[in-house]
Amino acid sequence: MIAAEPLFRAEGLSKRYGGVIALDRADLEVRPGRIHAILGENGAGKSTLIKLMVGVVAPDEGRMTLEGREVAFARPAAATDAGVICIFQELSLIPDLSVADNIMISHPPTRFGMIDRPRQRRIAEEALERAGAGDIHPRALVKDLPLSRRQMVEIAKALARQPKILILDEATSALTASDVTKVFEVLKRLRTEGLALLYISHRMHEIAELADECTVFRNGRRIATFAAGTKTDAEVIELMIGREYKHAFPEKPGPKADGRPPALQCRSLGWADRLKDISFSLHAGEIIGLGGLDGQGQRELLLALFGVLRDCRGDILIDGNNVKIESPVAAKSERIGLALIPEDRKTEGLMLPMSVRDNLSAAAFDRFSRFGVIDRQRQSALIDEMIRLIEIKTASPDLAVSALSGGNQQKVVIAKWLMNKPRIILLNDPTRGIDVGTKQEIYRLLRRLADDGAAILLYSTDYDELIGCCDRVLVMYDGAIKRELVGTDITERALVSSALNVQDTEPAEASVP
């Protein structure tokens, strides 16, 4: 049921980065009025394809046509002019400019050569409204917004540019469930308006809900294109990873009750007006999930535990001993043994231009140095071991991490802390932008770490993850823990209702204060 002539066609596109073939003679056809999903493992070449399409990088070979005419965009601005608009995996918002300025960055309305700010603001407000983000103030600075809000701004910005083809490269990866719903409505509306949409995501259920057709990439090659719904999830995943796939979260044995004090315990932890009276305990061998809408204090809780926030109230106990954690230096010390996998790997997790080796070393100098002098052999041994253990796909430990695919970068962030053998691991949405295969690896890894005695606190925006991975889930709302779900009580329904702080249909379970 091919509906229309292709709006855009790519033929034989290839791109090499040094020895790495990022894209190998790829073809693609995009049609108006349809949502075309692109799937593939981390590093399959999806983002590379997009970058070629919108002129961020030039292809080594191959040609592209738009509306029958051959095109080769020299820079993103040229693609924008032609109506090929992309929302990148790496956000392209300008932190110090206002939301309105960002939305209208390439084609602002002008009067007498100056930007017509009242009009710009109106257009921006409309675009935000259309993207379902009318709550964002157009004058707010982008850098003051949380990540999920920023992504909504990205979407509004794309809409304001009157796209013919709209490409979303993991644009929903940082969004909360409620935002995703809104964005989906927008996308479906755009489809009926005749836009061509390219949709990249690692979330299978999103693709199932949205896509009209799917293309699978593996190792830089297009493997298959098929109409949505003609293949099962398992089949699709097998196409992606090229081998058999067993979908399963690892077993949840739960912590052994050995009578030892909890590895981490909070007593009425508070900070400014963002954290309120938080108490819980986390045992060795246990994985606790943090749920709730984005921005309800989960990030602050992790930062508070990691010694980043000043003037915290309440007590933190490690192995039953009251401790003061004043800095990440203290947090990672032998005595405390904390690790934090931060939210934004680009700015908080990695030194992008530095090598994998340097990044893996940064948190664990003490493991292979004496009196500040690095023992190179020991360092190399530990790093090689870690790369093998976590299966980081890199040609060499001396490669810059910026050259790795998003998923592998995320693995580096996790691995860098595992180098330090932490006893308590705090994770801030660690599987964002990670393909299903790798996600499974990370889940197994977390469970293995827990089984080996680590205590894990996992914040996630992905309900499946909380359900599949965690022994207990603490749902936060407005800086406080509103509800604790244990074992089989952890259901999507329970998570959603408590996240919204609404009465569940089974009032017995709700703990409304």
């Binding site: 934090l340 931060p342 030194m351 231009p353 940064a362 948190a363 100098f365 500040g372």
Partner: protein, 326 residues
Amino acid sequence: MSDATASRSVQRGTAMLRRLDPAVAASFGCILLLLLLGSLYSRSFLSPEYLLQQLKVASFLGVIATGMMLVILLGQIDLSVPWVVTSGAMMACAVAAHGTIGAVIAIPCGILCGAAIGIVNGIGVAYLRIPSMIITLATNAVAQGLMVAYTGGFAPQDAASRAMRYLATGNAVPGLPNAVLVWAVVGAAAIWMLSRTTFGRSIYAIGNREQAAYLSGIDTRRVTMLAFALSGALSAFGGVLLAGYASKAAQSMGDAYLLPSIAAVVLGGTHILGGRGSYLGTVAGVVLITLLQSILSVMQISEAGRQLIYGAVIILMLLIYGRQKT
């Protein structure tokens, strides 16, 4: 030497060659080019005496640029170089006037003064988070103020001690000026520190992304402060050497070292925003700047022409190899 070790050392050699930054290689190429061009003007630019003398003079800038490089690697800058150089020199000379004990502790005292100013810079940058460009400008003004008040008010001794003279102008190894040896030692220490110590790697990490370094549990503030302290100490040490070379300390002897030290570091391929750069590049940059200044100095053209050529040659060399990747 067995075959195995020989081939291993060959391997290591080629590995080093492969690792050698093309920019660094190109900058050494530029040095040769400069000398060749100079020799068209006068044969003596190729004479060993002249070259050694240039190395000797370069070593003062080299020591100072080492400190500057540490700070630039952090993504900061140190504009307090001029008066830290002077303070180091003047304080060392002043201490040297106090008998035998004075003579012994003169050099360490000078260096410590520089380190102290560096620590003030470091506290400003790391703990108060004042942009380095401005806090170092301020400490430079304060150091100048202190030195002016000191010279005017305390009738200071400003003759260099014998040890200082020996360090700057002596020849412990025949034919090789001590200053060059000193620079070699400082340079070797810097290379070792930057590549083999946690401090050095932390500097690169902070220069690339301070926030990520902080969240990795690196004590970013201490590292930053230490780097500034080292920069101050090395500037002051440069001043001590200069005082030894001139056999005395004088006001404003550091003025001629600020822009050249920045230029040398950046000319050597270190990224001004921090995080990237190798010490060999800095060595090349220092030698380049020194040679260029020297060759221009003795060419009989007007000062105006010299300035024009100086600027043009720097830009030309950067265009040859110093372009940023986009």
